[in-house]
Symmetry: C2
DNA sequence: GCGATTCTTGGATCGAGTCTAACAACACTT
DNA sequence: AAGTGTTGTTAGACTCGATCCAAGAATCGC
C-alpha cells in the first residue's frame, strides 16, 4: 500500500472519477440508457480510456465485489480435503467483511431508479455461479456427491448474496452484511455436509 | 397442436433448420467464433430472419428449457400460501419431465468442444436465478424469512440444474433427468421449509 | 384479378467491446 | 538540458450482437 512514484505519464483520470460519473448517470437516466461514451464524456476523458480502468460497463458496479470473490475462490481452492462448513463459512465471511458502500451497494439499493432489475439478476447469477462452484468443489473434494455438493454450493452462495441484498436495501446504517450472513448461515448447516 | 393452414407467405425456414445449422457450426468452430451471419448463411436465409425465430444467439440453446421454466414460474406463482416442498417439487419435476435431447443438452455434453464454459456459466446462472426467485417467492409467501427463502430457492434450483448437467454429461441413454432430480431432492428436504 | 395477411429481406442504426498506432507526459540518466 | 524508457491517453477503425423499418414477395379467401 505504498505510494510508489512511478515513471511515465500520470493518470488523467481514476477509477473513482469514472465510477462516480457512471453512478450519477445511472441514477439520472438508468443503466441501459447510459452509454460508455456518456460516462467518459462526463468524466472528461475519451471513450478509449474507459477500458483502461474497467473491463466492461457492468464492471463499474461489480469490480469491488469481484475482487473479493476472486480472493475467496483462491482461499477455497486452498482448503484441504478435510475442510467442512466451518472453514467455508470463514472464507465467505471475508467476502462481506468491511464491505463499504460502493457502486454495487448503490445499485442494489436503487435498482428500480436505475432500471437494473434484469441486469442485476443476470450479473448476480454469474457471481453466484462462480462462488457456488467454488464451494461445491470443496465439498466434492471432501467426498460429498456431485449433486449434493452443488446444492451446498448454491445454498452458501445464495446466503451470501441474500445477506448482501438485504443489507443494501436496508441502507448501510443498519448493521453489517457479515452479521446478516452469519445469522442466516445457521440455516444452511442443517444440510448434511458429510455423507 | 393443430396444423392450421394460415394465410400469408409461408415460412422459408424453421426453428429446427436454424438450430441445426447453429449447432453444427458451434461444434465445428465453437460458439464464440460462430456469428449469427454464419448461422443464417448455412441455413440459407438472411441474417434478419434469424430474429424471427430466436431472440438471441444463446436463445438457440436455451429456448427449449426457457419455455419450461416459464411454465414452472407460472405454476409456482399460482401456488397458495400453504404450499410446501412437495408442491414445489411437483412443479420442478415437470421442468425436466420428458426433456428430450435438444441444443442445450448437446451444448452441455460438448461444452469443451464448443468453448462454452464461460457462456454456460453465465446463462445457467441467469436461469438458476429466475427459478430460485420463483421458489423463494413461494416460501416467502408461506411465511419463511427472506434469506431462508432465498437459500431454499437456490437449493432447489441448483438441484434441478445439477441433475440436468449430470444427465447431459452422462449421455441421454442413462436414465432420465427427472429421476436424477427426484433422487437428489431428498437432500434438500433437510432444510426447514417452515420456520 | 384484389386485398389482407404473413413472412423475408436489405439496410440503417446503435452500443459494447477489441485493437492499434500515434502521441503526450512523466522520471531518470548522462 | 537533452535523450531515453515507461506509462497513459486518444482517435479511429473494426467486429459483432441486437433493434428497427420499409419494401417486397408469397400465400390465403373472395
Amino acid at each position: 500500500m505504498m505510494i510508489e512514484p512511478r515513471a511515465g505519464r500520470p493518470r488523467a483520470s481514476s477509477r473513482e472519477t469514472l465510477a462516480e460519473a457512471a453512478c450519477e448517470l445511472f441514477l439520472e437516466n438508468g443503466y441501459e440508457a447510459t452509454s460508455i461514451a456518456d460516462i467518459t464524456q462526463r468524466a472528461g476523458v475519451s471513450r478509449s480510456s474507459f477500458f483502461n480502468y474497467f473491463t466492461s460497463k457492468s464492471d463499474v458496479l461489480w469490480s469491488g465485489l469481484d475482487a473479493r470473490i476472486d480472493d475467496a475462490l483462491d482461499d477455497l481452492s486452498a482448503l484441504g480435503t478435510d475442510a467442512g462448513g466451518a472453514e467455508v463459512r470463514a472464507v465467505l465471511e471475508n467476502v462481506l467483511k468491511d464491505f463499504a458502500p460502493d457502486p454495487l451497494a448503490l445499485a442494489l439499493r436503487n435498482a428500480d431508479a436505475m432500471g437494473l432489475e434484469d441486469e442485476l439478476v443476470r450479473d448476480t447469477g454469474l457471481r453466484h455461479a462462480r462462488l457456488a462452484a467454488g464451494v461445491a468443489d470443496v465439498a466434492r473434494r471432501g467426498g460429498v456427491g456431485a449433486i449434493t455438493s452443488d446444492i451446498l454450493g448454491a445454498a452458501y452462495a445464495a446466503t451470501l448474496f441474500s445477506a448482501l441484498r438485504v443489507w443494501a436495501e436496508r441502507g448501510a446504517g443498519s448493521g453489517t452484511p457479515t452479521a446478516l450472513f452469519t445469522d442466516a448461515l445457521a440455516r444452511v448447516h442443517d444440510l448434511p455436509w458429510r455423507i
